[in-house]
Symmetry: C2
C-alpha cells in the first residue's frame, strides 16, 4: 500500500493556535485535497520529522481525524487514510439533505429583507463568475449561498455541523470533472431556491433545495466504478 507523501503537507507557520490544532488542520487539508490519497498509510514519525515536532500533537490530530472518519487507526499497528465509501457518501447526503432542507424551509418562513438582499447579491456574483469562468471562486460563492440560508435559522453551529457531516461527500466532490453547463445548472437551482425564499413559499424552498442537494449525489454515484482504487470494497464503513 502506498504511503502518504509528507512533503505535500503545508508548513504550519501561517497558522495559529496550539500545535495539535495546526497539525490537525494541515493533515485534514491534505486529506481533503487528496494529496493524501484514500488508502495511503500515514506514518506518524514521517510527519513529526517533516514538521519538526514530537509525536504528541500529531497523535492528537490523528485521533481527532479518526473520530471524524477521515483516517482509520488500526490498534498497535498503523494508521491510514480512510478509503471513500459510497455507503458513507449516501449517508452524508441523507444527513445534509435533511439539514439543508430544514434550513431552507426556515429561511422562507422567517425571511428578512436583509437575507433576501444578501442572497440576491450572492447570485449576482455567481453570474459574474460564470461569465468569467472562475470555477474556484464560484465554488466559494456557492458555499456562501448555502451558509447564508443556514444562518437564518440562528443555529450558529449549523454550517459547521453540515460540513462535518459531509466530509465523505466533500472529499469525493474533488474528483468530479467540471461538466459543461454544470455551473449554469447550479445557478439556476440556486435561483429557484432564492425565489421560493423571497416569496416565503416554504414548501417550494424545501423541494428546490432537495432537488439541488440530490443532484450532487447523482453526479457522485458513477465515481465508484470510475475510480474503484479509491473506494473501499466493503458495503458499510
Amino acid at each position: 500500500m502506498s504511503q502518504a507523501d509528507v512533503t505535500k503537507l503545508q508548513s504550519l507557520n501561517h497558522l495559529n493556535g496550539p500545535l495539535a490544532d495546526r497539525v490537525y488542520r494541515a493533515v485534514k487539508t491534505a486529506i481533503m485535497h487528496l494529496d493524501f490519497p484514500p488508502g495511503a498509510s500515514i506514518r506518524k514519525t514521517s510527519i513529526c520529522e517533516r514538521l519538526g515536532l514530537s509525536r504528541s500533537p500529531v497523535s492528537e490530530a490523528l485521533a481527532k481525524l479518526s473520530t471524524e472518519g477521515l483516517v482509520d487507526i488500526m490498534p498497535q499497528s498503523g494508521t491510514r487514510v480512510a478509503r471513500l465509501s459510497m455507503a458513507a457518501i449516501r449517508e452524508d447526503a441523507f444527513l445534509r439533505e435533511a439539514l439543508e432542507v430544514a434550513a431552507a424551509s426556515h429561511a422562507a418562513k422567517a425571511r428578512s429583507e436583509e437575507t433576501v438582499a444578501r442572497l440576491s447579491r450572492n447570485l449576482e456574483m455567481q453570474k459574474l463568475m460564470i461569465a468569467d469562468g472562475a470555477q474556484d471562486d464560484f465554488m466559494e460563492t456557492d458555499m456562501a449561498f448555502h451558509e447564508t440560508i443556514m444562518e437564518t435559522t440562528g443555529v450558529t453551529r449549523l454550517p459547521s455541523t453540515v460540513n462535518a457531516l459531509s466530509q465523505h461527500v466533500n472529499r469525493a466532490r474533488r474528483l468530479l470533472l467540471p461538466e459543461p453547463g454544470g455551473l449554469k445548472n447550479s445557478l439556476e437551482e440556486h435561483n429557484k431556491i432564492y425565489d421560493a425564499i423571497r416569496q416565503q413559499d416554504a414548501s417550494e424552498a424545501e423541494s428546490a433545495m432537495r432537488r439541488h442537494v440530490r443532484r450532487l449525489l447523482q453526479r457522485l454515484e458513477p465515481l465508484e466504478t470510475a475510480r474503484p482504487d479509491l473506494f473501499s470494497t466493503e458495503e458499510a464503513r
Copy 2:
C-alpha cells in the same frame, strides 16, 4: 467553583477496549448523569489517581469530550464541565427535529411489514411499562422506538449522529421532573407517529414527529430560570 467528585466515576473493569475509550465513556457517563455537575472543574490528576493510570488516556478522553462540547478546556489553565446553555439546547432541538422528521418521513414512504411489527411491539411494551410505572424502562423503550424509525433509512450512523448532536438536550433532560400523565402523553404521540407510518402518510408522520420533538423543548425551556446555577450566562456558546 466546585470540583467534580471523582468517587462518582464508575470503575473501568467492566468495560473493554483501549484505556482512553474506557475513560472517555466513564467520564461521559458521569457528565450525562450530572454526577459531574455543569460548571464543576475537572482535575486530571484526581482522575488519574482514582483510576490508577497516567495522564495520557485521561487527556485523550477529555480532548474528545471537548470536541463534543461537554467539557471546556481552557488552554494552559484548566478543564471544566460545560454549563448548560439554552441556546445550545435550542440548537440541538433544531438539528434533532430536522433529522428525526426526515427519518419519520422516510419510514412512512418505505415502510416494511417488519418495521410496522417492531414498532407495534414496542408500543405494546410502552403501554405495559406505564401500567407498571417503570419510568426508566419506558425511557429506554422510547429511545428504541425512535431508533427503529431511524434505522429504516438505512443510514447506519443516524441514531448515533442524532445522539451526538443532542447531548445538551440529553443532559438537561435528566433535570426534568416526571410530570403527571407525561408518559401517557408520550405514548399517545408515539401512537400517532406509528399510525402515520403504518398508513404510509409521510406528511402526517413528519408533523407528528415534529410535534413530539418540540414538546420536549417546551418542557426544557423553564429549566433556565428554575436552575440558573447550571446554565451559562452568555447567550451563545
